[in-house]
Amino acid sequence: MQQASIPTTSRAAPLRFSFPNGGRSGTSFKPEHLPSILAEGSRTGFFEVHAENYMGAGGPPHRALETLRRDHTLSIHGVCMSIGGAQPLDRAHLGRFRDLIARYQPALVSEHLAWSTHGDTFFNDLLPLPYTEGTLRSVCDHIDQVQEAIRRPILLENPSTYLVFAESTMTETDFIREVTRRTGCGLLLDINNVFVSATNLGFSASQYLSEFPLLKVGEIHLAGHASQNDGAGAPLMIDSHDRPVSNEVWALFETVISEFGPVPTLIEWDSQVPVWSVLKAEAAAAQAILDRYHRMFSYGERHVA
């Protein structure tokens, strides 16, 4: 049985070394896959769960997660903290998040640059925010509170968006860079989100990635998206997590890994979930790219641009 990792007990501080779990690929954990995962017995990848699905008092969800955690590396991905919201964080929710992290000791902890609650209404979506001095202060304040509560840094995920705010005074990458500088948080780079936003808003995904603070990235997300038309003749990509990763997103991923080296990479699949072998194959495809550049980087070919 794998040893439980040692909890971080210091106050949140910028990480000087890479996040744990090196260049492994992983997948979203779906309870229906647990028998297949256990039958397989191999323990190379990692699994990510949405924190809120495990905030009940007990029952089968916790039993499944405990079983998984015994032999596999875990990533806990918060979806509902509403870090990008204007109102104070929900203290009860923050307490539940802290308790979950303490109970399962995940290798990775992440949340979103988005909001989902306004007043007392929970919208169950990752909603966008303008990028201004005011929202920067409140996002940093919220991340400080989360990191204080769980006593470790989080990885903040870039959003997928469908429109922009007229009042924004800075770019998303400038905003995110400043958030990492002020709070010491790391980043979860969702390359599918970059591609979806770039297509929807008409900017270059490569340009965005070149401006993104990649050295702070502790995890990468890859996922599938749905492609539509927005009714006004423009392409509209929906971040649907219901199909394989697209060729364009694989290409962007390979570019990022080739330039910055391997990073833990997760295949997200949350809707129309396939059988385990299909999801596993997606993770294997990511692993092949990570391994190719792992060899290259471990032979000292990394150079500072």
Binding site: E52, H118, D125, L129, P130, Y162, A232
Partner: protein, 260 residues
Amino acid sequence: MSPEARLSHTSAFAAGLLDPTCPPPVLLSGPRGQDLANRYDVYRNNVTVSLIDALAAVFPAVQRITGTEFFRAMARFHVRENPPRSPLLFTYGDDFPDFIQRYEYARSMPWLADVARIERAWLDAYHAADIRPLAAEALARVPHDRISTLRFEAHPASRIVRSEFSAVSIFAANRDQAQQDRLDASLPEDGLITRPDFEVAVRHLPPGGAQFLLSLMSGKTLGEAATDAQNDTRSFDLVANLAGMLDAGVFASMKLGEQQ
């Protein structure tokens, strides 16, 4: 910055998410001059569809009975009237059974709200704390003359749903994909939901059983609860009900009252 100003980006954006008559917020701009309303509609659609999906996940038997189209239309009304107040979506839909009871188009299915109550209780039981239920042998150690003074503490998963209709049978017939025979929906049924280990169980309660357990769960003594049950149902069988409740794992603990 004033608190009002700090709230602006979410309050303006939130206003129309569940209200299709509300225009998109003015502080947005579409990319390349594209139609802003279409882009805001993506969020409206994501929010509404995901919350309808959340209700469908909690109430699968109700959806199977009504059909998907009927269910989603009904759920859309409810989502707009009563969106979730908690980020824990597995707690959503507490008030959905009452909504179904009032829902004009569901009047031909008067038992539907009770089926929904059983499904809501099922999910509460599923997520309830892991506590070992009171063992059946525990009762055997209680001195005979003091059994009537016992008070019980309910297991966190235990729920009772009383129905004027055959809601328990209808629930059971619609939770799996099995073919079903036609049911007589008009027989009153009481359902007991428990989760003694990791499997939720839904049982029919015998006559008087619901009153008996509800009295015990409210903190009355075994003697008082037996009297309540007999007043409710003259044929109430105390011995059979005691054995049944221990077998089902309704209670977590018990304690003796004062000597009488």
